[in-house]
Symmetry: C2
Subunit: 205 residues, 2 copies
Amino acid sequence: MPNILLADDHDLVRDTIAAYLETVDGFAVATASSLDTALAAMAGMDAVDLLILDYNMPGMNGLDGLDRARSAYPAAKVALMSGVANRDVANAAMARGAHGFLPKSLTAASMVNAIKFVLTGERYFPFGFASPEPAAARSGAFANLSEREMQTLEQLCIGVSNKEIAQVLGISEVTVKLHVKNVLAKLGVANRTQAAILAKERQLF
Amino acid sequence: MPNILLADDHDLVRDTIAAYLETVDGFAVATASSLDTALAAMAGMDAVDLLILDYNMPGMNGLDGLDRARSAYPAAKVALMSGVANRDVANAAMARGAHGFLPKSLTAASMVNAIKFVLTGERYFPFGFASPEPAAARSGAFANLSEREMQTLEQLCIGVSNKEIAQVLGISEVTVKLHVKNVLAKLGVANRTQAAILAKERQLF
DNA sequence: TGGGGACCTATACCAAAGTATAGGTGCGCC
DNA sequence: GGCGCACCTATACTTTGGTATAGGTCCCCA
């Protein structure tokens, strides 16, 4: 029977989640309303399998609270939970050794699955946060690019010169410049570097 | 009892994984050695809960095979498996609707956990692929960059001109050019675009 | 006390990038 | 046929990027 400590300063959120985990899956769930009370509570408890910390909670101070919890109780798994789920925060949390990142946008069922997953020793990272809005990738400005312009953009993402692009595509350098100019205009960026960055961030190439 | 179809052209890999899944967790595992035989096999089977496709396998043709499988059997969950696990491929696969990406670098236990996770309806994405080797990120060439050079690189990743960088850093454009030149040399790239791409891929900014 | 490295500036030069204008072909569509 | 569009080429030009060389200050460390 897994032992869970859930720390969140938002009473309603904390209690409802705790109740759900207890009734639906029989987890033993203790609660706390701040990082300090959570750490204090762990001192008087049996081994806690999983500590769930709200990212916005007194005492957290960003991800410092994560470090404090991990160094105080290295044996416990620690997952971060956040309502204002930000991709960078999620990445940083995982990089700092969190065992999971639980956005509050998860469904209750998914949260239980994620918690179970973490309890098996795996690290849970919600896919939606790995690559931001993959649906929007080819949409928007990228949609109006012609075929040649897409090919040109692909080369831009390698960082090669116009001359090299001309060789690869078998056209003159002048034409490449034309395509590049059109790409920049359609994407609304100022130069080839920005175009490459934009395409890279959208995971196009 | 979950029904799994595992398709991989590498006989040894396929059979050992299948045997492991069968004996350890009692999954019913069928196998195939190519995409076409896998799709054909599904036609004659009871509902398959999970289809696991090797990324490098006859008939896959990159991620086209994933699309084929998903459109042929929309009800089945589809996970991709790959030995030459590449972050971009993993992201692209998930963006195209894969329910999981299983690098062969996973331990057997982790793979089972991941498969169970996918079978619950969640989407599994190995954390290590979300931000590629965060440990190695600042390593290598990036380590020898001086503070100013890092600041310069950060600006390069926005795609701004030398003149603008000069304004932001409060130095002359000539000095910026110097820093840029040093950055390019230390990173071993030919121009600012490649430097920006490299840093972006390493998730430095 | 004398390097050495990070940092800054300057002049000069050439290559590359980007803009502007003008024109040509082929294709589909009304 | 005429129109628009994607595509190609060309000349001419300005701006930016990148290299080379030379020199300066500051600070740390042997």
